[in-house]
């Protein structure tokens, strides 16, 4: 998945570009003729460019993409036909349709090898204004529809590539998700069968209060693992479908962080990563409490997972008018090359089969922060620990009561 997909497109993504002007090239050695033709052909959706010689015309053809060239046959130095021959020789110019303007009818039988039928036409002087306009219109319309087709084809090719990529990612995701879900399930089923057998064998030692307590907390851990995985999967599907809605309320970010860290401190201390919080003043704002907790939990879990058993610091304060949370660890750090990648779906800093989780944590974090119109940044180098900075609109938050991503 490429990076640009994470920069969400504007709500009303442009489906149709403003109509591009078709360009017409007029080539005649006489200025009066050029002026007369230009006056005749002038229309809002076309740009008319005039050239006084074949050489000048060729220069323009390299600069612009023309829907049509009207070329006077009888010109000094280079005749209209000679110009056409030269145009046929270059890839940029060989497909420009030509209308020759000529005084004699005999030219019409002139054979133009290499030109598609219909790509060359003739207008006889004196010009019939109606005939000129209708011929030019036909070429303009033709060029416009060709260009639209080309754009459609490009769009289709791009969509197809994206779809193919999406299928690949889905397959990989299914494989990782099933592995991740099967692991705690395997453990639970194994334990269930073992206990049944031990019970049947009448082993009294298998069910002492100590062992029972251990079993229950092991079961709880596995169930939490499964719940967490499913929550992540649901969040990602909500985000993909554009349904990550925020329930906004006003609260103190510092209090939320302190509370969250207090509740889970045991967990972090057990992992050897005690968390300290620096939140010197209330940081008020209007956010989704549950989602911001999720952001914090994800960042803290990451800091713990990659934190190499060292302490973690969380700072909550104002940065100008924005609320700022910084989560810093002293772990292995993240190489600069991976800074963007880790926020993408199904990515993790450690590659290959060192699988732990679905690789969705930071992706979800970024989506939640984006939904709050905030930003997330990482400062880290390999071996130097990592600091994630989340900034959210604070104080004068102008968010509505309900927001959809």
């Amino acid at each position: 998945m490429n990076i640009s997909q994470h920069e969400r497109p504007p709500k009303h993504s442009k489906t149709r570009q403003p109509t591009e002007h078709e360009k017409i090239l007029l080539v005649d050695d006489l200025n009066d003729n050029l002026l007369a033709l230009e006056g005749l052909l002038r229309r809002e959706d076309c740009e008319i460019i005039t050239a006084r010689s074949g050489t000048e015309a060729l220069e323009f053809m390299l600069l612009h993409e023309f829907a049509l060239a009207l070329i006077d046959v009888q010109m000094p130095m280079m005749s209209g036909f000679e110009l056409a021959e030269l145009m046929r020789g270059a890839s940029k110019t060989k497909n420009i349709p030509i209308i020759f303007v000529t005084a004699t009818a005999e030219h019409q039988s002139f054979a133009f090898k290499g030109y598609e039928s219909g790509a060359v036409d003739f207008l006889l002087k004196p010009l019939d204004t109606h005939a000129v306009k209708s011929k030019v219109n036909i070429f303009i319309e033709l060029h416009r529809s060709q260009r639209e087709q080309k754009q459609l084809l490009l769009k289709l090719t791009k969509t197809q590539a994206e779809l193919e990529q999406a299928v690949l990612i889905r397959d990989e995701f299914m494989s990782i998700a099933s592995h991740e879900l099967k692991t705690p399930l395997t453990s639970l089923k194994l334990q269930a069968q073992l206990r049944k057998r031990n019970l049947a064998k009448g082993l009294p030692d298998a069910f002492t209060p100590e062992r029972l307590a251990k079993m229950f907390s092991a079961d709880e851990r596995q169930l939490e693992r499964i719940t967490h995985l499913i929550d992540d999967m649901l969040d990602v599907s909500r985000i993909s479908a554009g349904h990550l809605s925020l329930r906004l309320e006003q609260f103190d970010l510092g209090a939320l962080v302190r509370d969250l860290v207090d509740r889970s401190s045991e967990h972090f201390v057990a992992a050897g990563c005690p968390v300290s919080v620096e939140a010197p003043e209330p940081v008020m704002g209007t956010w989704d409490r549950f989602r911001i907790e999720q952001v914090m939990m994800n960042l803290l879990t990451n800091a713990m997972r990659y934190g190499a058993g060292k302490s973690i610091l969380v700072q909550v304060n104002y940065a100008l008018d924005q609320a700022r949370i910084v989560v810093s660890d002293h772990g292995q750090g993240i190489a600069l090359a991976n800074h963007e990648r880790i926020f993408q779906k199904f990515e993790r800093a450690v590659s290959g089969n060192e699988i732990s989780g679905l690789g969705l944590g930071l992706y979800i974090v970024r989506q939640i922060v984006d939904a709050h119109h905030g930003s997330i940044q990482i400062v880290s180098e390999l071996g130097q620990g990592a600091a994630f900075t989340v900034k959210l609109p604070g104080r004068e938050s102008k968010m509505g009561a309900h927001h959809d991503v």
């Binding site: 099967k182 453990s187 334990q191 069968q193 073992l194 092991a218 089969n353």
Partner: protein, 125 residues
Amino acid sequence: MTCKPIFIVEDDLEIRQSLQEFFEGDGYPVILANHGQSALDLLGSGSTAKPGLMFVDLMMPVMDGITFLAALQQTHATLFAETPIFIMSARADTQHLTIKTTGLVKKPFDLDELSNVAARYCTVK
């Protein structure tokens, strides 16, 4: 009745412990490794008895199951040829595997199936 050891390569601690409890409860000696590299190290050190059977997980950190089996085939050709090897996988098929193994036990496990496999290869009568 004596039993040959069962060698288990599995990265998940709780699964490893449960399998150990199960097999030891049935009288089999159990050797544990938490990934392919530590399994290779263990076998290379010569400190372990020759296993009668191997259970190998596929997705593991440091060294996955397939890399481990390929390395085992290279460095311990006799052991690889003589030891029945069962893949432990959530996937039901083994066609995608590049290494030939004796069989597959599907996760989540069926303890009766594990018990039968162990009885067939590790019970010495």
